[in-house]
Each structure stands twice: as structure tokens, then as C-alpha cells.
Subunit: 220 residues, 4 copies
């Protein structure tokens, strides 16, 4: 998927992109062979992930440069905290995992690595560093969902695939890409990819991609 | 007003509390003698203030210690960015100030001092430092609104007084006080006021109160 | 003084530069008419200032992009904490102000405004935002010192003038300017002044200059 | 080793402490069977680690609550940037690794996980959160060095063991423990371990210990 203009360039420059979006975990999710317990392990980690993800998007509100940027990031926080986390709770509840169990989940090292990398990139860098580190997650899930949906899949994990491949999530991806493109243009101008700063953002994106790729291995 | 249990103690320990809530600006607002241009100057600064205030509450989401704390702070951000800033725009539009004029407002030093103090307290300290620095604004406006409403006032600035003295804002104050009391208890325990940490929080509250008192002078 | 290449451009774009470097306080410091108590008030505030200034330069170490940038900022922190603060203590001691009195100094609002603005710029922005907000202080004092020294001055406050106009401080200014120029070039490239990002840095510099100008009034 | 009073309690509460200080890597380092290439891999990662470690201690200066706390942390930064990194360069140079190779080292995920966890703990929490996350590294290396030195060891990696077991590093450990104990006492008072805040600090320490334990596996 080509969400906006910065993302396709950053993706092309990230050596681990394929390792992230074409992983054995995802193949087995698509063909239905993924063991249920592995999926539940992933879901529980993803619940903890969502909380830190919401923290990172909140930090983006604090670091934004304009009211529209603040509103865009705040809408994501609101959706994560009011909708996504509750949907996750429902999904887990139906799978037999209680909220108390979810809250007690011990964060896997791969989870810690990615979420803290993103947050620290945001704290130590600026709004662009934060967006570049967040991008692989938001847009990579969109790319994965769209591809799995178009390729056909087993019904076992259809709900997951239809969520990320579906219209709502795809619209969110296009909105996030527009936020990124606008943020880069309004700071670095039309020749952004020619600046040294671009390579620093590429490095944020590539490192975050590498850590996202490792995330799939936590459900071993 | 006694919002919760921490706030009344902090208020009692802040030497500038009366200078903040019983200021000439507020007396003239209540008796209708405040010149229109002074009120508009205040409104324009307050618009810029709201933006940094929303940034500070977003930082609180990133620094919160639990999902309920995150949700409480995020609801405030959402209300500020989606409702309050739009209401302010309407109010200013009716007074003849355009959005472009508002956005171009040069922040007064008193505005810079308070908002950056709060944000820096949050960045350098933790969630409690941030809440202690935010409290004088949220709860002081509640106390001012409730008092002016109960004492009777000229219709000239009734809308302002009825907003902060009204049911919705008072409920928000009680909610914020509950957030503060819960956050202090879940970190410092029931004997919090006996700890050295309490004095550091008192200092945050007192300094923020001093800077809030100075804020009223900007429309001088 | 033309320290490096970014500073002269930023200075030319800051409306309050002259209000900062050519203020009545400085004139009376040069001609010796500044009352002693006003100078001591300034010194006590400046002591508190140095502490927050050292915090800001430490934040710069955390936000730097390379080991040489880290070392340059850390050398400043080291000098501030090990040398400058002790020199200030000596100077104050000779003037009859004890360390306990200095530590108990209540920060003036103008002091809070500038230091928290700088720190918040650093936390919310990146290394460049922090340097642009720090620059008016470091380099402005260099420009003031060099000018007062060259214009001739009364012996009353010669020590202050000779410190900032002297060889050591002037070398530090040239070093800081080189740090800034290098940091801008290694992120924004040779056409930095043509980028929107430049205007954001100019705004940091201009606002910090405005707050520095107000700082002189605290000893009023 | 019992460095101070907080550390022994936190260590006792960290389930992964033994996994961190009694690891196969360390056994082979002591008996000399550790392959040279594994040691060099570790050294190169440790060089990158030192840089982020210096950033974290700089953040501690910015977040400290008093001038003595600032000076203690700044002295560590200064030692890391001026002495430790240069010693590491020398050590690596003698082993045939150039500075350019060191600088080009790709950070291992275990390295990213620990350093970003520490930095993020510091940014999102306060000075105590940062110290609790830094403690396992500083004091764990002291404990490891002292034990290996006392137990006898092969000459192959004697320099490493003598560095961390030696007088200078042990003094640094006692100084860091005093800093931690003082910081906890001056914020949380003498009953700190009875407060909920203590458990949050324990959690910081335990998670950092878990990530430190994983660090040894990177040289696999």
C-alpha cells in the first residue's frame, strides 16, 4: 500500500520491512494454522502494547506544532483508550482471558524494546522523530491487513484480518500518512529527502521496523 | 470550595491564593466595570493558554500510571481540543476577534511563565508534579466561578461566570480532585502529607498559584 | 559580535535584541550608578538561574546526536556546576550573601519565565530547539561583555564586565556558536535558512530574547 | 555486596537478579573460555551502551532536586564521556576494532531494550524512577566484579574483572548507592519501603534487571 509520500520512501529504505510484514506468524494467521495459544499470547502482549502506544500518541499531542496536528493525534489517543482497548478486552474475554489477567501480563522484552524505543525517540527527539518511529506500526498493520484480505484467508483469524484490512483502519492509515506528510513538509519543506535530517528520520523508521519484526517472535 | 482532600491542604499552604482568586480583574468582571478591551485581551491570551493547557494534559496521559488515569486525562484533552477551543473561537468571533487574529496572538510573558512552568514541572518531575502544577488553574477557576455566581453579578460578563460556576465545570472540578487524590494515595499512601515529597508538591502548587495570580495582570 | 553564522541571522530576526543588550540596567552597570542592592538582587536571581541553566545544558547532552555534541554540552554543564556556581558563591559571599540565603532565593517570575521556556523548548522540541532557546543567553552575555569592555567602564562592576568580555568567556561563545552551526548543518544542511524549520528556530530564539530582556527588570 | 540500603532490598525483590549476575557469559569470562569474538561483540555493544548510559545520567542532572544531586550525576556523565568512552576506545583499538567500526555498530535489540527502557523511565517518571532503572547496571557490575575478583579468575579477561572489582569502581558503587539512598529519603522519608511508590520503584529495578540479564545473551 502506498500511504502518502514519506512512508513509501521510508519503507523502501528499511532493510527489515519484509521481515516485519511477511513473517511466519502472519502466514499461519492467514492459513489458520496458528495455534490458539500463540494467538492469545500475542493478544495479551498487544493489549499492553496498546497502552504504551496511546502514551506515545499523547506525547505527540504535547509535541505537536499546531492545533490541527494536536487534534489529529488526540483523536488517535481517544480512539485507542475508549474504543481499541475495550474491543481488545472483549476479544480477550471471548477467548477466556480476563481483564485482571491482561493487566497482569508480563511485558515481553520485544514489547518493551519497541514501545520504549518509540517513546524515547519522542522524548529525546521532536514530533517528526516520534512520528517516524510510530509509522511502521500504524502503516505496517494497514499494509499487512490489506494484503491478507486481498489474498484470501482461513476463517480462523478472519476478525483480525478484517479489522486491519477493513475500510475504517485503512482510512486511519491514510489519515496518519497525511499527518506525517504534512508534518514533514511544514518543517523540512519540499526537499526534505535531500536533508541530513531525513536520514535521521529514516533511521528512526528502520530501527522501529526492526523491533516490530522482532515483536512477532514473542508468541513463539 | 473543598474539591477533594489534597487541594484544600495545598490551597491553605499557598501564600498567593487570595491574590489569585480575589483580584481586581475579577471584581471588575463581576460588577461589570471591566473594560471590554481588557476582557478581549484576556480572552485572546486564554485561547493560547488553552492550547498549552491541552499539551500539558496530554503529557499527563503519557506519564499516568494506570489506564483509568490515562482515560481521565485524555477526556480532558479531548474536551479542551474539541469543545473548549471551539467555544472560545465562537466567543471571540462574536466579540469581533477572528481565528487568524487569535492564532497570531503574541503570548504575554505571564502566559509563557505559567504554561511553561507547568509543562516543565511535568517533564522534569512525574505525574504528581504535573497534577500539582495544573491544579491551581482547574480548581481555582472552579472556586472563582462558584463564588462569583453565588455572590451575584452584573450581566456584562455573566456567560464567563456561569460557565465556571455552572454544574458542568463544577463536576469537572470534582472529577479532577478525585483524580489528584487517587493519584497521590496510590503513590504516596494515606500519610502523604507527612512525607518530604508532599512539600515538593506543595511547592509546585504554590509556585503555579503565584504565576496564575500574575496572569490576571496581563490584561491590565 | 559575530559568533558563527546562525547567531547573527537569528539576532537580526529578533525584534527585542536591542531591548535585551542595551538596557538601563546595563548602562548603570557600566557607569557604576547601579545601586549595590539592585546588583545583589540580580546576582541572587542569577545564581538560581545558573542551576536551571545547567539543567538545560544537561538535557542537551541527553538530546544530542553525536558523541562530540554530547561532550561539548557536558563540558558546559561541568563548568557551570563545578566552577561557575562556586564563583558565584564566592562573589555573593564577599557581598555578604550566604549560601543559605542564595538557596532560599524566591525565583522571580521573569526568571521562571525564561528558564522554564528554555527547558520546555528542549523537552518538547529537539536539540536544535534547545540550542536556539539557549543561544540568546550565552551569546548575548558575550556581546554585552565585549561591548562594555571596549567602551570603557567604571570600576564599580568591573569584575562582571571583565568576566563576560574576557578571553575565556569569548572563547566559550565562539565554541557554542560552532556547536550551533554544526548542529544546524548536520541536521538541516547548507540551505537551513530557507526551510520552514528555520522560522521555528528563529521563533525560539526571538521568544527567548524577549524573556531575557525582561530578566533585567527583576532587579528594578 | 551491600551497597547502601535501598539496593539490597530492591535486589532481593528482583526475580531475575541471579540470572543477571551469574550467567554463562560471566562464568566463561572468569575461567577464560569465553571466545575472543564473543568478548569483542560484547565490547562493541557496550560502547554504544555507554553513550546511552551517559545520556541517561545527563537526564538525571536535569531531573535532580538539588545542587549536590546534580553534581553527583554530572560527575558520572563527565567520567563516562571523558574517561570511560576513551578507555573503551583504547581497549577496542588494542583488540583491532577501530573507532569507525565502533561507531557503526548496529545496536542489538537487547541493547536497545535496556537503554531505552531506562531513558523512558526517566522521561516519564521522575528522578527516583530513573535511578531505580539505572541501579542494576551500576551496582550489578560492581557486585559481579567484586565476586569474580574474590573467587579467582583466568588472566584472559583479567582487565575487565579488575576494572569492575577494583577500588575505583567499588567506590563509585558506594557513591551511587549513597546518592540513591539520599534521594529516596529526601523524597519519601524513612518509611519509604512501606509506600506504594516503593513498589513502583521496585518494578523499575526488576524490569531493568530482567533486561540487563538479556544483555549478556547478545554476544551469544
Amino acid at each position: 500500500m502506498n500511504y502518502g509520500t514519506c512512508f513509501p520512501r521510508w519503507r523502501a529504505g528499511a532493510p527489515d520491512w519484509d521481515a516485519y510484514v511477511r513473517t511466519p506468524f502472519l502466514r499461519s494467521l492467514a492459513d489458520g494454522s496458528l495455534p490458539r495459544h500463540a494467538f492469545l499470547t500475542y493478544l495479551a502482549q498487544d493489549y499492553v502494547f496498546l497502552i504504551h502506544f496511546a502514551r506515545a500518541w499523547s506525547l505527540a499531542v504535547a509535541k505537536a506544532g499546531s492545533l490541527p496536528e494536536m487534534r489529529a493525534c488526540s483523536a488517535t489517543v481517544h480512539a485507542l483508550l475508549e474504543t481499541e482497548t475495550r474491543l481488545h478486552l472483549d476479544l480477550c474475554a471471548r477467548a477466556g482471558i480476563t481483564e485482571a489477567e491482561l493487566t497482569a501480563t508480563v511485558e515481553a522484552p520485544q514489547n518493551l524494546a519497541y514501545t520504549r524505543y518509540v517513546l524515547e525517540a519522542g522524548y529525546s527527539g521532536d514530533f517528526l522523530d516520534l512520528l517516524a518511529a510510530l509509522a511502521p506500526c500504524v502503516l505496517g498493520y494497514g499494509e499487512i491487513g490489506a494484503r491478507l484480505l486481498s489474498e484470501g484467508h482461513d476463517p480462523a483469524y478472519a476478525e483480525w484480518i478484517e479489522t486491519y484490512g477493513g475500510t475504517d483502519y485503512q482510512a486511519l492509515c491514510h489519515g496518519t500518512a497525511a499527518l506525517i506528510d504534512g508534518a514533514v513538509a511544514s518543517r523540512l519543506g519540499p526537499q526534505a529527502p535531500a536533508l541530513p535530517r531525513w536520514h535521521q528520520l529514516q533511521d528512526r523508521f528502520s530501527t522501529a521496523t526492526r523491533l516490530e519484526a522482532a515483536f512477532w517472535t514473542l508468541a513463539g
